[in-house]
Structures are given as C-alpha cells and as structure tokens.
Symmetry: C2
C-alpha cells in the first residue's frame, strides 16, 4: 500500500509540473527541459496560470484542468502557494508530490510551522511527499526514464539508489557520477524530509531488483532505531554506503543551521552505522570510488589479494595499501608459479606481487591474469598498468575485461597509471570492472567489498534476555528519587548492578563483631574494612580503612583495634558500622557504561579504564540494545583486548563473562529508559579468576522521566520481553 | 666542483646518445625523439655503429668520432658494452653519464659485481653518473629544454624537482603530472643509484632557484644520516614531499627484490623524515595533490581557515575535514560579518563556513572573497563551487583567480564539484591557485602548507652534550664482555645509566647490619630489601624480598628477621648479602629505550610502558642523536603525555627531566655505538617528585664491535664532542 503511493512518485505514468515556466534559467523551466530531454515515458502536463506552450507541451492554467490522470505533481510554485496547491492536487486525485520549493523549516520557526501544516495535509490526503526544499527525483529504468530534477546534466543508467539530504550537493553529485561512468537506477533528493526520508527509501528499495546498491548522503538520521532495524536487514541483501557529514563539532553546528535538523553526536552515528552493516565513507570521493567497485564486482569469497603489475614501484605501493587495510597478500600456489615461469621472462617475479617487468606485452597480461584467476589461494586481483613503449592502455583494459567476462566470480580491479584520456574513454564505454588511477584507491575498494563479505557472513546477532530482579531496581531508584537524588550512591549503584546479575564487588555493612566475622567469612578473604561514621569524615586519618585482611583472625583483630583507636580518640559514638568489602586484586582496569545521546538514545561504552580512560581513549561505542555479536565485537575491538587475553603472564580474562556484563547493562538501560548515565569504572579484571568485577559504580537518572515511569508500579513487574 | 659535473648532466650544452637507434619502439629511438621533440637547446649526437641519420641528426659510429665537445652521454647500449662505453666516454673527455641500460644490481650478484666496476670507473674518471637501470633526466628551463627520457609524453614547465627511484613509475608520473597541470623544473630517475642518489639531488637543488619544491619517490634511503643532515637544512628553505614505499613487511620484501637495495624498517624511515622536516605522503595521489598546493600557494601565517560556499553540504564536509586535520575554523570578525550581511541575502550564513546559498551569483563570490581575504582572523581560504542554474564553473574560477592575483599573501584553494571538463580546461590554463574536486583534498593540501609553516617556524634544535662518566661505562662493558656476556646485568645496566646522569633507582649491596643501615639511611626510606644468595633461587619463598621498609628501625628488624629465617632453614651459608634499593612509588609506567635498525642505526623509543607497551603501542620513535626539540616532541607526541601532565590528581611529571633522560640516552648510544639494545622499562614516574626514574634496565652490546672498540683504551677518554 505504501509502496503503491511511492510508485506514483518513483514510477509515475504521468507528471504535472506545477509552476512550469518559459523563463530561462528558472527551476520551472529547467525541470520541464529535463523531463523532455530525458524522454519521460509518460504524459507531461505543465501547469502555469498563463497557460500556453511550455517546452513543447500544452500548459494548463490550473492542475484541476489537466485532462488525464496525474500520478505525480512536481511543485515549484512560490512557498506561499504550496499549501493551496496541495489542496488542488488532492481534488485532482493526485497522491504523489515532489515539492522543490524552498522556504520552509530551513528558514526558521515560521517556515517550520508551515511545513507542519504541509505534512498534515499530506497525511490527511493519503499522499506521500518528497521535499520540500529539494532537487527532485529521477528514475532511469527504461519503462520510466524520468529526470524530474534541475541538475546540470542528464543521468546515466546504472544500479545505484541514491538519497541525498543536500539539494545543491545532489546536483554536483549527478555531474560527478556521470564523469565516473557510474549510473543511477533511482535518485531522491529528500530536502527537508518532511515526509519521505532515507528510511522510507531504504524500505522502498529493499526488494527493488533494479537498485543493487544504496548510497546515502546524510547530515542527520531521523529515527535511529528504525534506521538500524531496516538497514541491518537490507545490508544482508545489498550494500549500503553512507557519507554522514557533520562529524566535527564545528561541522555539526554547520549541519544544524543548514537543514534545521539536529545532528547527533558522531560517535553515536558511527556506532549505529556499524551495527547496521552500513559501510561508512568519509568523503564523496571515496563514496563514489567504492560504489564503482560494488557496481562492477561480485562479493569476494575471502580477503586474499593477488597483484599483477608491469612495474615494481606501484606493486610495492599496492602491497603497502593492501596490508595496511587489513587484507592479505595471497600466497600464490607452486602450480601457479610454475605456470607463470613458463612464459614470463626470468627477470620477472612470480611471487605476489607478480612483476611481469616493464616490457610485458599484452599477451603476458592475458596469460598471467588467466593463470592467477584460477589460483584457489586468490580471492581478488589487482591488475596494474604503466605505460611502456607503445603498449596501449585501452588495449590492455579491453584484454583484461574480456577475461573478466569469462571469469565473473572473482573481483578484478585495474590500476592504470596513465593519462586522463584513458578514463574519459572508459567513461564512455561499457565496462565490467572498475579502473582507478592509483593503487591506494583500488586497495580501498577491495577492502569495502571485503567488509561487505564479512558483514554478510556474520550472524545478525540476538538481544538476549536474562532473568533479573527488576523489582529490586525499581525499589532502589524509587527510594533515591523520593529523597530528591537523581544520582544513586555507590552502594545503591552496586545493588542495581547485582540485581541485574552483574558481578560487582561483594560487600555488606556490619555493626558488631559477629556480623563483621560473618560477612568476612561469607565474602571470602582477603577483604577490605571501611568504617562509616557520621562524625568522622577523614576515615584514613584514624586508620578507618584497612586493606588486605587475609583471615578471620586478622579481621577480628583489626576490628577490635579500630574500636580501640576510636575509643581513645573519643570518636566511637559517631560510628555507624563498618563496610566489609571483597578485595579484588588485579592491575587491569576496564571501564564500561552508558551515555545518552539526545537523538540516538542510550549508547554503551567499553574500553580501558582507570587513569587511562581519558588520556588513551581506548574505548568503543555501540547503540543499545546490544546483540550478542555487538558485545563480542565491542570487547574485541579495543586495543586493551590483548591485555584481556593475558599478555605478560597475567590471568586471561573471562571474555564471555565480560560480554555478558555488557549485555546485562544493555538490558538494564532498556528496561529503565530513564537511566541517563551509568559508569562502571573500574571494571577490575580479577587476577585470581579473570572475572570482570564492578568495583565502583555510578548511576544517574532523569528525574522527571523516572518519577513518571515509576509512578505506576505496574511498570516494575516482569522483565524484558 | 661537484656541482660543475652535475651541471653537465642537468644543464648540458651537448648530448650524445650512445645506442641511438632508428628502430621504432626501442629506447634508443624514443630518447632521440624526445630530445628532438622537446627541442633540446644544445647539440645532439646520436652514436650507432651503423652511422647514418637518426631522427634527422647525423649519427657517429663511435663516441670518439663526435666532432664537438660532449657534456652528457646518455647510454642505452646492451649491458655488456657499458664498461667499454664508459672508457670511450672518458677518452672523449665526457664527465656526465646517464646510463639507461638495465641488467646490473637488480638482476643479482653478477650484475652487482659489474655495477661495482662501473662505479669504480666513474669515480676514477672524475665522472658523475645517473642510473644504471633508469628512465633518464629532464630539465624544462628555457635555456636547457632537455627531455632525455623515454616516457610517453613531453613534460610541462614548472617548479618541481622530482627524484624517482622507480623507472617505470617515473614514466607514469610524467603522464599524470601533465594531466594535473603540474610542471617540472627538473626530473631525475635515479634507478639503481650507483652514484647519484636522492641526497645528491637534494644538495644540487638546495640553491637552485628554478626548483621551488622537491618531490621524492623512494623505496630506500641510502645514507640516512646524510639525508637527515641535508634535508633538515633544505626544508627550512623549500618544501620536500616524499613518498616512501615499502611500508608493510610484505611491501618491504617486494621493495628489496625490486631494487636490490635494503628497505629499512618503516618506523625508522618515518622518524627520519619527520626529524628532517620532510612531508611524508602515503600515495602518489596525495603527493601530487599537495604539490599542486605548494606550487600555487604561499606558506600561510597560521592555521585558521575560512570556507566560502554556495552549498551547505560541501561546507559541512569541508568543516569536518579541516577540524579533523587539526587546523582551526577561523573566527570571522564582526566587521567582516557586517560587511557580508550588507550584500548577501538573509538566508545566507555569515558564520564560518560562509554559506552564500545556492543562488549566489558570481558577484557574491567576488565580494565575499575580497571581504574575507582582508579578515585578520583568516589565514587560509577554501572557496567551494557547486553548479547552479547556469552559473559557469570557469567564470567563477577566473573571477577568484583575479582576486587571488591582487592578494597573493594568503593561500586560496578552490573546491569545484563540477564535471571533469572543468579540470581539463584549467589544466590547459595558467592558474595561480589549486583547484580540487573534493573538500577533503583541499583540507589536506592546506594541512600540508601548515605543516611546512610549523616546521619553518620551529628552531632546528641542538644535540646537547652532558658531562658524563664515560670511563665508568667503558669499564662496566669491558668487564661484561671479558666474561663473555653481551647482555649486562640489571645492576650493571643501572650503573651505566647513572654514569650518564640518568636518574635510576638507587641501590647498594650490604653484607652486614652496619652496611645495611648506612645504605638505607643514604638512599632514604622507604626501601626494598632483596637477598642475594648462591644457593637460594626462589627468594620470595623464604621471604627474601621485603618491600616498603619505612624506617631504620624497621630495616634493622627486617634484616635480623631474615637472617633468623635463613638460619632456621639452614640457608644462611649461601647468603652473599642483601640489596637495599630505593622504593619508587607511582602508577605511571613509561618506557624508553634504543633499538638498532640495520640501515638507520640507533633509534630511540619513548612511550607508555609496563604491561601496556605491546597492547597499546602508545610509543614514538626518533633516530639518534636526538636534538632538544626532538626530545620535546617525543614526550609530547604520545597519548600518555596527558597522564604525565598530571591527569586525575596525580603529581605532574617533570617533563624536562624526562626529556633530559632521552637526551642522555641518546648521548650514551652515540658514544658507544656498539650498544645494540637498551630498555628502561619501566621509567616510573615518582608520585612524590614527578621524576622519571629508571627502575629496571637492560643493555645489550654487539660483542665483536664492542671488543674492537674497547681494545684500544683511548676510545674511552673524553666525552662527546
């Protein structure tokens, strides 16, 4: 049903251009020209109060006068007429709108108000709408051939679905992609995304076979949770490459003034994209260069790359780039080597990189590629060409494309260090593999193919549900907020963690010698004893903290000695008792916790803790809720993972127990959405058992939300489902 | 004198091509064509046993028959004739050789032997020689106009001096640079660099005003110390940009098989280039893109960048890229803002990035740029253009170039997201500023300009000379090697460090109670007591290590208790004594040390130590000897610097004392060049004083070298000079 209305926008049979114009260099004129020049397959109805003929089409003075059915109205009238125009479209029975007109949310409060009314009408009338404040839409499918944009150049046919959040940028992109011989299936400039946004298009393209890869230019993500749900499903079928701009604080502030939408913190965006299987690019250049690879290469079976070159230098540079991207240099089999030696000159190197030397004729390129492509140790191939004494770049390219056509199963990319004439030539040809000027570009493209392979091979992961004591957490938080505290005490925080099955430092409060000894025995030695007193604030000055108590006998002695010391100093009266606490020994301090991003919601952190957390920033982030694979990846992705594995004779940490700690924390924050901050620092790795133990905890809630949520005690019953 | 002979190669008045040929697609034919087509300003003498006319020039059957003087012989004969040809050249009085011919060191041992003989002849005859196994040389100066290469295309005139270690790559580079409208002053393909290498050319170009920047493609650095000396001097006058290939282990192995030269460890190369002020690039693409900036921009006065754009998206992307490169977004003055507001539409943003909005006409580009260029808070400017309704890219480019011509003092770069036609057009024009397609490329180029600024502003630094006890170190090492040990004991290592004034853990050996007490008192409490015994290997099992002894009284008691324990266990007899050692308290463990790279020599390391050293790799390297600025930069460049500054309430470390530690170590390894490895791990930061204290040390020498050096006791006298 939704798709049916979207089809009226993306695959219309008839288009009305409301605000079409004969005046050159106006949008109303440019769009008419594009529709005509790109030979839209259906009917085109220009609408202009003056009527007449526009770009060869009969114009109508009002949309309601148009004789036939209209699927899509492209609206370019002045902003103040847009609401009325929508009403007219409704009366005409139009369901699809592309509102090019600017002057809405992006201009401030008043504009935002009008945009709200616009959206209300669209919803009321059962319409869908692209824009306002956008460049338009296009679809290159032969049944449609619609260019309803006002970009400089006409699109070329291809397999990319492109969503751009920036209008002007969209126009630049259309130009560049044409240069790169990179074609669209469909393109949507979402503008202010009042109705249709990137998520709408993701879902629309999920099962559209004409769109084989999706490219996104985004300055914000409207509904992160929905984006994650959709993208993580779709990326299992086709790659999504995204450029998310507004990464720096300064960039983000420019982003919010630009589109009127709030740009979320970049850490959160990075985590979200990673968890969704979206390949993140950091420049348009890379976005396009890598899309070129996805357009022309199968997903590889592994990450082992062979390099074939006629020049040593570029072979070395390609090797550097491949090794630095985490791929592997393929180990060429002896059989392949032998075969290569049978026709290559003795000065050639048959090890990877395979250097055929500068004088290699075209036949050596062919024979070498044909031989290497069959090597079972090779997953992907880079073919490097440098000009040498009359060997023509285009001849070499054609020869290897022929071989590629017969061997479609492995990615092959060309690195042709030649003149730009060559790239102009191939941008006007049918090609079946990507060509780059530089080895580093090729290596990066292969890395992206390999990322996609890894993502597709990886299980999607599940959000586990542990048996926890939710009611206890309710009670603790209720007590805290009833006392006006939005921040829990350390002991309350530890209790909350324990209620969720998180291994925390054991402790208890004792007020007499029997309780002290019982606690010590039940916790297990060594323990720490800390006095708690209303009158003595400097506990250590009176010997109020004793560490490393190793036995019941020592504990008795220390307790009695403490009482004696306090008595001598006249401080016994204020004593409330002593906390007996498990003493965890270990020198590996990790940190984990939760921060809340205003747009992305709760975000989990894990990494190296203690004094190192700020200086070394060896931490990683993921959006909650975590899946089991998320938790595994978090633990593995920090450098300190090597320490956890047991470097330098330390006890290997219980990795799965640490993963579970993260998953339980994720469940906690999902159950209690009003938790604003949570820190476990340190999560000490016990040298004895390798467990991660929460030694200190800090939890802060959003007071109003917590009060609201806990008012009705029913919310406390049951656990996550 | 050296320059005179080099002039005969780079600025010859006459050239003989020995091995010139009429056969098409041979090097002997191609080089003749290039010399002719590029219109070499002097005489051209082809030499071929058959004589006749080659490319329109009278050929001679032998070099000795050539009638006039010959400055430069370009040799392309078969490898087996090269030595004889050199003899003939000598008889003809030729001093300059470019040996294109391959088949020497790169083919193996035999070839290397012939190359040795070749070099011997060159030296004997007072010649200089480029190659063998190279692409040739060129000089575009109007007085010379020499293209003595066999690359595909003729060069264009420019200000770059380029040295390429790869022949075939050199050819590709010539093509690409032509595309990029990036011209050479001179180009040298050094090939096997038997005689002339990158260092020769650096020195040659140092005072050649025709060469304004130097680009290097290197797979190895022949004489690192000499390279450092030259480059660090020359980079103060003109930028040097280097692409050093063979970074990965796999790449390095490809490098050594390719050029037959040993590729040094990449860490060492990175340190060397940094200390020499050389800008390191990691791809040809960046090398060229950034060279374009140096060709067309002055060195900026600071790092504050203003962005002028007609589209928000690219403005955001540029902001991201600039912030991520460590530059600053300029704070536009109120005066500038006011002026901008006077002519820009209200929807425009006059904050940086300055968004003139999509409809900006060419006049807004002009007025905005003219206004911003005068802002005293702006050091560099990025101008972004996206196509919009008929505004022509080339018109905008010409308009801003006009303004740039009138305001040459600040770097201006263009980001033109338009078709490749534009770039083809400007590649055939005279331009006075660089244009890029993408914001990230522009940001990177500005970053390089800023790096050069920082380097030029920074003092070159001095290698200090401390007063040290060199003789003591001699004696310690002599003793060790006389006992057949190439590795010093911990105590010997500590003694060596102390002899060089490095703050190490104080200690001493005591054999009776008086000595024990004296030591304790002189070291200062707390101390550690460790027994040393010939019969007891597991010291801790018998309580042989006691830490945190806080007073003379406690020391007496512990010593007596130890003796008693040992007596009871019958272990007293083996006791040699106890080591009384300073107990350093602190939880910040740094590491510093020296590793020896077979090619680059001793290399210093500094960073985060303890259990973290391998996992976190927060360390930095510099080649010894260190200057004071090197030491300062080393300490500042690790992430752990924040910890040293006193994060989280710790005592701020004595930064200058740590720098001095590194400088003294550098002096040590410079005085004793046979020290192969040296580790101080940890260099503990005292919580009490903030000093870095060597708690553990390890020194290893190269036995044979040490024996040789210390044989003659004279080498021990005196300190560094």
């Amino acid at each position: 049903m939704q798709d049916e209305v979207l089809n009226k926008i993306m695959k219309p049979k008839s288009i009305a251009v409301i605000g079409a114009s004969t005046k050159p260099k106006t949008i109303g004129s440019e769009i008419m020209q594009r529709l005509r020049d790109y030979k839209f397959s259906g009917n085109i109805y220009p609408v202009n109060p003056k009527g007449g003929i526009i770009e060869g089409f009969q114009a109508y003075t009002n949309i309601e006068e148009v004789p036939g059915d209209v699927d899509l109205a492209v609206i370019v009238v002045n902003a103040k007429f847009v609401l009325d125009t929508i009403d007219q479209c409704h009366r005409k029975g139009i369901k699809g709108l592309v509102i090019i007109t600017a002057g809405f949310k992006e201009t401030g409060k008043e504009g935002a108000e009008v945009e709200k009314q616009l959206l209300a009408k669209v919803k009321e009338y059962g319409m869908r709408c692209v824009g306002p404040n956008c460049l338009g839409v296009l679809n290159t499918h032969p049944d449609v051939t619609m260019d309803a944009t006002f970009a400089e150049s006409l699109p070329i046919r291809g397999d990319i679905g492109f969503v751009s959040q920036s209008g002007a940028l969209g126009g630049g992109i259309l130009n560049i992609l044409k240069d790169l011989n990179l074609g669209f299936a469909q393109f949507v400039s979402i503008g202010n995304q009042a109705d249709i946004n990137a998520e709408t298009m993701l879902e629309y393209w999920e099962n559209d076979d004409d769109v084989k890869q999706i490219l996104l230019y985004m300055e914000s993500i409207q509904n992160p949770a929905n984006f994650r749900k959709l993208a993580s499903r779709i990326t299992k079928k086709k790659p999504i490459l995204a450029l998310k701009a507004g990464r720096s604080a300064a960039g983000a502030s420019a982003a919010s003034s630009h589109t009127g939408s709030l740009a979320g913190a970049d850490k959160a965006a990075a985590a979200l994209l990673k968890q969704s299987g979206v390949i993140r690019e950091f420049s348009l250049k890379n976005l396009f260069a890598n899309a070129k690879a996805f357009s022309n290469c199968p997903i590889p079976k592994g990450n082992r790359v062979a390099i074939i070159t006629n020049s040593g230098g570029p072979g070395i540079m390609a090797t550097d780039a491949i090794c630095e991207s985490g791929m592997q240099m393929a180990k060429i089999t002896d059989e392949t080597k032998e075969k290569l030696r049978s026709f290559l000159p003795s000065a050639a190197s048959v090890k990877n990189p395979i250097d055929m030397i500068a004088s290699a004729p075209i036949e050596h390129y062919q024979q070498t590629l044909e031989t290497v492509i069959k090597d079972e140790n090779v997953d992907m191939i880079v073919v490097i060409y440098l000009p040498f004494l009359g060997l023509k770049d285009i001849d070499v390219a054609e020869a290897i494309m022929k071989i590629k056509a017969q061997n479609p199963e492995k990615p092959i990319v060309g690195v042709f260090m030649t003149t730009s004439d060559f790239f102009t030539k191939i941008s006007n040809m049918e090609v079946n593999m990507p060509f780059y000027m530089y080895a580093e570009e090729a290596a990066e493209a292969l890395t992206r193919l390999d990322e996609q392979r890894q993502w597709m091979e990886k299980p999607l992961g599940k959000v586990p549900c542990y048996d926890v004591d939710k009611n206890k957490v309710c009670d603790i938080i209720k007590k805290s907020i009833s006392e006006g505290r939005d921040q829990l005490t350390t002991l309350e925080s530890i209790d909350v963690l324990q209620a969720y099955g998180i291994r925390a430092c054991k402790y208890g409060l004792a007020t007499n010698i029997d309780e002290v000894v019982n606690l010590g025995n039940s916790i297990g030695y060594p323990v720490v004893m800390k006095m708690t007193s209303k009158t003595t604030s400097h506990k250590t000055d009176v010997g109020g903290v004793v560490v490393n108590i190793r036995s019941e006998e020592q504990l008795r002695n220390e307790y009695n000695a403490l009482l004696k010391r306090l008595e001598e100093k006249g401080l016994l009266e204020g004593l409330e008792g002593v906390i007996i606490q498990e003493m965890v020994k270990g020198n590996r301090e990790m940190v984990c916790g939760i921060a809340t991003d205003p747009q992305y919601g709760p975000m989990m952190m894990f990494g190296l803790g203690g004094v190192f957390v700020e200086a070394l920033k060896d931490v990683t982030f993921r959006i909650a809720p975590l899946t089991d694979t998320d938790a595994q990846e978090m633990v593995k992705s920090v450098k300190a993972y090597k320490l956890l594995q047991g470097a330098r004779g330390t006890t290997p940490a219980q990795i799965s127990q640490i993963e579970e700690t993260l998953l339980r924390l994720s469940q906690l924050v999902n159950d209690f959405k009003f938790i604003d901050e949570l820190d476990i620092n340190p999560l000490l790795i016990s040298e004895k058992t390798g467990e991660g133990i929460a030694v200190d905890g800090r939890i802060k809630v959003r007071m109003n939300e917590a009060q609201e949520a806990l008012k009705d005690c029913l919310t406390c019953a049951g656990a996550c489902k």
